[in-house]
Subunit: 210 residues, 2 copies
């Protein structure tokens, strides 16, 4: 599927809708009104209708959305009707936590390879069963294991170098946990995870509500 | 300061502006146009002007923004002109990674206490010098160490119980890393960190750009 000019914020909200629809499905809810779904997601219902309108007609007037159908459609839009293979680089505390985080699996993401450049870590088996490989084998293992998304959990100073290796190996999407901005060429995507932006939101609330 | 009805997205973007202004300041840039700042932040310049307009008049026509002044003002708005004290609950891999993450410190957040309920961890000294305390001492240590923001890095099944304890101890803001939604009463704030939403963005790009 190809849609033109979908705002990035819409894509992020689709993720959020999908998470909440999954919860509703697990609670055995069959139908949800746009108001109820909106309330749950912390947005307004006009926003949901606007976001979905980019992709077609969903929902039934006077009824709402069929939970399972809408979830299926949103997953198709986001490309989540398949599993995605992740390769992790940097097996420190954060890397180990990420690989053990069962939320990834639940959402359709699966770590298929783990890399480090520390020879004391290479060859070790992680609790998940994966073996830590040397980063020099990235390109070869990328092909074998079909790594689609690279996850960087190295120190900041190593992150761009690791990104360059992922790019050389043609891993076209990168999730970066290192506290530094990563440059990627056209045709490659990068998302930076910055915990402290969430903290700024909390600080703002604490400051204004006192 | 108290501003009414500032959209949450504006606050998140202010964080982003502040990060980029800090980088500019460290590069010794004195003045930046709204176009340049916008490009760097990945938004459009009208958005920056609109976001800042909630809080007053910034920038000089035909010149742009004075980097240091704008950074100062934004930090004041966000409540980042002070240090914030964090208390971490859950000293597994993720908790250990968070406490070692130097980005928090750089952004004005400081871990002042660490808790767990595992008696094998309680009493251990972390590399940062902090000692792991038993979660039962939360209320007492909250007062002593002035914990302002609670950070939850426990397994999902423990997170709401930990949140309840933080609330009982009157820790009014919570950053939650556990893959579960946390309920807090009015007057308390919670931000959930969900890595997989970022992955969904990447999956969408991989799906649409092929």
């Amino acid at each position: 599927m190809k849609f033109s000019k979908i705002p990035a914020a819409t894509i992020t909200r689709l993720s959020l809708y999908s998470r909440n629809l999954e919860e509703l499905e697990s609670e055995d809810v069959k139908v949800v009104s746009s108001e109820k779904l909106a309330e749950r997601c912390g947005v307004n219902s006009a926003q949901i209708r606007k976001d979905l309108a980019y992709f077609g007609e969903f929902g039934v007037r006077g009824v709402g959305y069929y939970v399972r159908d809408l979830l299926f459609e949103i997953k198709k839009i986001l490309g989540l009707n398949k599993e995605w293979n992740l390769g992790l680089v940097g097996i420190g505390n954060l890397g180990s936590a990420l690989i053990a985080h069962d939320n990834f699996i639940r959402q359709g993401y699966r770590f298929v390879a783990a890399f480090d450049n520390d020879i004391h870590k290479v060859g070790k088996k992680l609790p998940s069963g994966l073996m830590v490989e040397h980063i020099d084998r990235l390109r070869e293992i990328k092909e074998k294991a079909n790594i689609e998304i690279g996850v960087i959990s190295t120190p900041a100073g190593r992150a761009q170098d690791v990104a360059n290796r992922l790019i050389e190996a043609n891993v076209r999407a990168i999730l970066n946990f290192a506290p530094v901005h990563i440059q990627v060429p056209k045709g490659f995507s990068v998302e930076n995870v910055d915990f402290s932006i969430k903290l700024d939101n909390l600080a703002y609330h604490l400051t204004t509500e006192v």
